[in-house]
Amino acid sequence: MDRIILGDNQFFGISHMSEEKGMEQARKFQDINAIIDVLDTAYGCGIHAFTFSTHDRVQQICDHFRAFPEKYADLQLYPVLPYAHKYANLVNEKGIIGTIMDVVVSNNTASQIAGIIARGGAAMLTQNPTEIMKLLIDAEMKMFRGLNVKVVFLQNIVTDLFLGLGWKDVFRDFATYIEHKYQVRAGFITLNMPRLVDFLLKCGIEEPVVCSAINKVGFQMNPDIASYEETLRNGHFQAMAMSIMAAGAVPPKEAIEYVASFKNIKSIIFGASTRTHIEQTKKLIEQLS
């Protein structure tokens, strides 16, 4: 896994510090070229790894990557699915089945849909949740076709929902399908890292890839920072750290020193939208690691 990964929250109006700041950034990055400029800056600095949610606009970014294969030869993508807000309103309106059918229909050609219907259609879907999951994964992964994918992440609301439900099969099925179909590791993003690591090991998923907030003030680290530190020291998993600056509450140097002190942390994901910020953060991670 890559040591340094650029995150994508800043491009889509997501700020853990301030909703207004998020909206301001959304305005700034309304033009897809503004996003590509930042990605190119990072790429030029030697950061070749990016996480992307499956936000509708990521399709355009992926089209850009595909248009310049030589320029982006070393690109490594870490998709995060699903982009939950995309579905929230659809579920309100159409219910679970309606939403699934909508997503499947809008992401497949007529002949593919005919194939799905031939295999049993909606009736088959309701009988078999694993089949639903596979269709949704394929629909969401479609935008990354032809690009180099390193890990496919399950987004935190979904991970934590199934963690709360305690449904082991869902985690096993997700990991197995990602590893077989896409030939890469499945990863899990969570707001409850210690509980999740313990649970994934009980599911029989060895050395799971788990991404969570890790910062010295305990922001978005549930139940508490002490449990995180304990799991980072003793847990058998591959940790990826995000929110290392706790949305601005921790200065960059302190943030990276803290994360670098845990040998178990393989990757650091950070969000930035200026050249200075990208260069500084990369330099600090390299110096302190």
């Binding site: 997501i14 301030s18 909703e19 309106e93 219910g95 709360g164 439900l165 707001l191 549930n222 706790a246």
Partner: protein, 340 residues
């Protein structure tokens, strides 16, 4: 160990279930839902007793409490049936479709001494709790007026399906969005006695209002505007914001940060003259399990703790939520009086 059941396993029901399923003192034993898809999957993954009929569930399953997360129109009969079984009840917001029904349920809960709570989760947000303390501590002096807003992109086109688009089921922006703001105003400034200048607007919906604007007057003299619109595409997700003007300063807050402006320092070295900005990372403590925001865990853990302590005065009782139902009715009447 407290035994619980969930009635209505939709988006909120499943969230509440997942959060309390990780609580060390709670064991869920039963779920009722009208969807075969939902029940089939629950049957596949859990050993819960499953029901299509909540009446049957209340009759057969042995429980200490229930979570009711069904469309608003069914709250009255469900809460009434659960109260008759002496079960502690957490019911989703808004509480009831009309004040008469709600009043009966409040009385029932009091007579039976059951723990009762309604899901106005903004009361459990750490930023808004801090804002309430600033107001009640008098930091900004006497509150003159406020603006309490909620915007989102829940409805962006006409829809005939889904209960949120149907008045009779408890749909509409008033019950879904405005109720949050009304409850939050009540939480900050106390009971609301007057409603005026109400405007209900339809934007895309066929049967329900998509925006609500009104002026509220509280018993303590404070006034404020409620501005709510669930058809605003420019918001990524539901967004709450409040701006409070007082004689000594003002507060601007959303779920992630508050900005406090003071005309003079507070004298205790906590806040300086001018702007004081504080973010959620400083204010929020970890919760034992987090799903969709720690507010949701805080409100349910509070409910469970109240059951354990036999404390019927939860942070958002049926009686608290009934006050919001009254205001909703007054806003509708205020609007209708000028538009008939």
């Amino acid at each position: 160990m407290l035994k619980g059941g969930v009635i209505g396993f939709g988006r909120m029901g499943i969230t509440h279930y997942a959060i309390l399923n990780t609580h060390p003192d709670v064991q869920f034993v039963a779920v009722s839902d009208s969807s075969k898809f939902v029940l089939k999957n629950l049957n596949r993954y859990t050993s819960l007793k499953l029901f299509t009929d909540y009446q049957k569930m209340l009759g057969e399953a042995e429980m200490d409490f229930v979570i009711a997360a069904t469309p608003t129109a069914s709250h009255y009969e469900i809460v009434k049936a659960a109260a008759q079984k002496n079960l502690h009840i957490f019911v989703e917001k808004p509480f009831s479709m009309n004040v008469e029904d709600g009043t009966e349920l409040v009385k029932m809960a009091e007579d039976k001494s059951i723990v009762n709570q309604v899901g106005y989760f903004l009361r459990f947000n750490e930023v808004f709790r801090a804002v309430r303390k600033l107001v009640t501590d008098g930091l900004i002096g006497e509150v003159i007026h406020y603006k309490n807003e909620m915007y989102g992109r829940t409805v962006l086109r006409a829809s005939k399906s889904g209960w949120r688009s149907k008045t009779a089921m408890g749909g509409g922006c008033m019950l879904d969005f405005a109720s949050h703001c009304i409850d939050f105003s009540d939480y900050l400034f106390g009971p609301i006695e007057g409603v005026s200048g109400s405007v209900l607007k339809r934007i895309y919906s066929l049967d329900v209002e998509d925006a609500v604007f009104t002026t509220l007057k509280h018993r303590n003299g404070t006034t404020g505007n409620i501005m709510v619109n669930w058809s605003d595409e420019s918001y990524r997700r539901p967004f709450n914001r409040i701006e409070i003007f007082g004689t000594k300063g003002k507060i601007v807050a959303d779920r992630q940060e508050y900005r406090l402006y003071l005309r003079q320092p507070d004298g205790k070295d906590h806040f300086e003259k001018g702007w004081n900005i504080h973010y959620l990372p400083e204010l929020e403590k970890g919760v034992r399990f987090s799903l969709r925001g720690s507010e949701f865990t805080n409100q349910l853990d509070h409910f469970i703790e109240c059951i354990r302590q036999k404390n019927t005065q939860t942070a958002c009782t049926f009686a608290d939520a009934l006050r919001t139902d009254c205001v909703v009715e007054n806003i509708k009447n205020d609007f209708a009086a000028r538009n008939t």
